[in-house]
């Protein structure tokens, strides 16, 4: 059955159209199949492979890598790897929360400017968004250096011994993570804040709603589309982040990203690295799924 149809003003048949469509699709799709989908499948296969003498893949089927990730090592069970995974989820969670809390006042502030200065402020948020993350991470070295006021203040308060830097530390990792991902929340959130219908907010205030209630029921629902994009843009990459913990956390605060990098770098255990990557992938998919279910529920309220 090949029916005639009119498509974008052209009289043609379905089969001819699809044949031409395939010509357009094939270069890009072939590329993505060869260099995205196929490597993804290889990653899954490699996570079930063994480790050769030089860290190369040895193709025999085994669950060894996943067992190791779950903590079953040569010397019995340890929670080391699971701790790292849990810590990554926790860091990503805190980073997202802090970024959201800081983004709301910033967005309200920018939305309250006149039209001309508004673009200036927005550009000021976009610049860090596009600045290389290695530079933005190591820039904290300077702020946290022992010679500068922040570390001196901490030493004065007795938090660190005098003359020592505030990095590598857990604190430095959080500082770096929040500064890294803050624009990822602010920019999408702003696109929603800009469109808030303030009449609704005034109406809530006229009806003597408390400040918390005004925010929860008049402002938050209106900013939900931008907020949800910002949360996903922050939470997912934050879980796999490895530059910030590597530079600012050192060996003290390892995250999943560092663990993966280690397997492909100094440890040379590709099969184990593949298994951790798959673990991170499952975690990503799971949080996206949870998030979609949850945000659906919020939309109904």
């Amino acid at each position: 059955m090949d029916k005639l149809l009119v498509w974008y003003g052209e009289l043609t048949t379905n089969r001819r159209l699809l044949k031409r469509g395939l010509m357009f699709l094939s270069p890009g799709m072939l590329w993505l199949l060869i260099f995205l989908v196929l490597p993804g499948l290889m990653l899954i296969a490699a996570s079930f492979a063994g480790r050769g003498a030089y860290g190369e893949l040895e193709w025999h089927f085994t669950f060894e890598n996943y067992k190791r990730l779950a903590g079953f090592g040569i010397f019995g069970w340890t929670a080391d790897y699971l701790m790292i995974v849990w810590r990554s989820v926790w860091v990503a969670f805190i980073t997202t929360i802090v970024s959201v809390v800081l983004s709301y006042p910033l967005c309200f502030f920018i939305a309250g400017r006149s039209e001309r200065t508004r673009y200036l402020w927005l550009t000021l948020v976009i610049i860090p968004f596009w600045t290389n993350m290695v530079i933005r991470a190591y820039a904290w070295f300077l702020i946290l250096a022992p010679e500068l006021p922040v570390a001196k203040l901490a030493a004065f308060l007795g938090i660190v011994p005098p003359g020592s830097a505030l990095y590598p530390s857990v604190f430095a990792v959080y500082l770096g993570m929040v500064s890294m991902f803050l624009p990822f929340v602010t920019l999408p959130l702003y696109s929603s804040v800009e469109r808030i219908d303030w009449a609704l907010v005034e109406a809530a205030q006229d009806l003597y709603a408390s400040k918390v209630r005004v925010f929860m029921q008049a402002i938050l629902p209106q900013t939900l589309p931008g907020l949800s994009v910002g949360v996903i843009l922050t939470f997912v990459p934050a879980m796999g982040m490895f530059v910030v913990p590597d530079l600012l956390g050192g060996a003290k605060y390892m995250l999943v990203g560092n663990l993966i990098q280690q397997q492909f770098g100094s440890s040379r255990d590709w099969a184990f690295g593949a298994a951790i990557s798959i673990g991170l992938m499952i975690l990503t998919m799971f949080s996206l799924y949870l998030y979609r279910r949850k945000s659906k529920g919020v939309n109904l309220v």
Binding site: W7, Y8, G9, E10, L18, G21, F24, L25, P27, G28, L32, L33, F35, V37, P39, G40, M42, L43, A46, L57, S103, P105, L106, F108, F109, I110, G112, L124, V125, I127, P128, W130, T131, N132, V134, I135, R136, Y138, A139, W140, F141, L142, I143, L148, S179, L182, P183, W198, V236, P237, G240, F242, G257, I260, F264, W270, A274, S277, L280, T284
Partner: protein
């Protein structure tokens, strides 16, 4: 709400300070005369001058540029054709969903997973083809892979907003398929293609993770060079280099803003 509460203004200022203070510190110490430590010893542009006689840095800058230009050109072409292929043909719902899923993969998965899968894929391909040694070619392939998705998404949204009117009119006036593409669709798409290309270019310049996993000894880029250098210890020269990169970023962001705002006004 034209005036914000003083508390909101104060919080917003603190947040901006939080974003910019570290970057400002890098810029300040890039013109500091002392080589060691973070004590102010007077103004100098010496570190900037020395950058231009450092073979390693010049080489890294060249690699970064070659990588970004080549990958952007290929990704923009592939992504544009892909976007037209996805939007302008009557694909069934199932096919559409699958294509959409594949296209969104590089956008949603953490880049370290893409990097890990590329390491393994290149490792296996290397057994058959010798060009897959770690180096510039692998990096270009890696960059194109995530750029194609972004370009295709940007161009496709432009295609959707164009609608079908103009193309239908062209067909009514007996435009052939190549003529329609070349003289009608592509010129109308140009702002979308330029926007997608610039996004791809910036993504490539900005990328660290994919490059870090796929680079070889001769294909160090600026982000890789800075990363390796700061792990050995920060120097004023690195601050100078980072400040230059920051300035280039600012110029590109402001330029892109101007361009998109002008085309939005039209």
């Amino acid at each position: 709400m034209n005036r914000s509460h003083p508390l909101i203004t104060a919080l917003a200022m603190c947040t901006m300070g939080f974003l910019y203070l570290p970057l400002l510190a890098v810029a300040v110490f890039s013109v500091n005369a002392t080589k060691y430590g973070l004590v102010w010893r007077g103004f100098t542009l010496n570190w900037y001058v020395k950058l231009f006689s450092n073979e390693l840095i010049l080489n890294a800058a060249w690699n970064t540029l070659v990588l970004a230009v080549i990958s952007t050109i290929i990704a923009t072409i592939l992504g544009t054709i892909l976007a037209i292929g996805m939007d302008r043909f009557p694909w069934s719902g199932g096919t559409n969903t699958t294509l959409d899923l594949i296209l969104h993969l590089p956008v949603v998965i953490p880049d370290i997973i893409l990097a890990a899968s590329l390491v393994i894929a290149f490792g296996l391909l290397r057994l058959v083809f010798s060009i897959f040694e770690p180096g510039l070619i692998n990096m270009i392939i890696g960059h194109i892979t995530f750029q194609v998705a972004f370009v295709a998404l940007v161009v496709r949204s432009r295609l959707v907003s164009l609608g079908s009117d103009v193309e239908e009119a062209a067909r009514d006036l007996f435009a052939s398929t190549p003529y329609l593409l070349w003289r009608v669709t592509l010129p109308l798409l140009l702002p979308g293609i330029v926007a997608g290309g610039m996004l791809a270019f910036t993504l490539s310049l900005d990328d660290f993770v994919i490059s870090f996993f796929t680079a070889g000894p001769d294909s160090v880029t600026l982000p890789l060079y800075i990363f390796a250098a700061v792990r050995r210890g920060v120097t004023p020269q690195i601050h100078a280099l980072s400040t230059l990169v920051l300035l280039i970023t600012i110029v590109m962001v402001v330029g892109t803003e101007r361009l998109t705002r002008r085309s939005a006004k039209k």
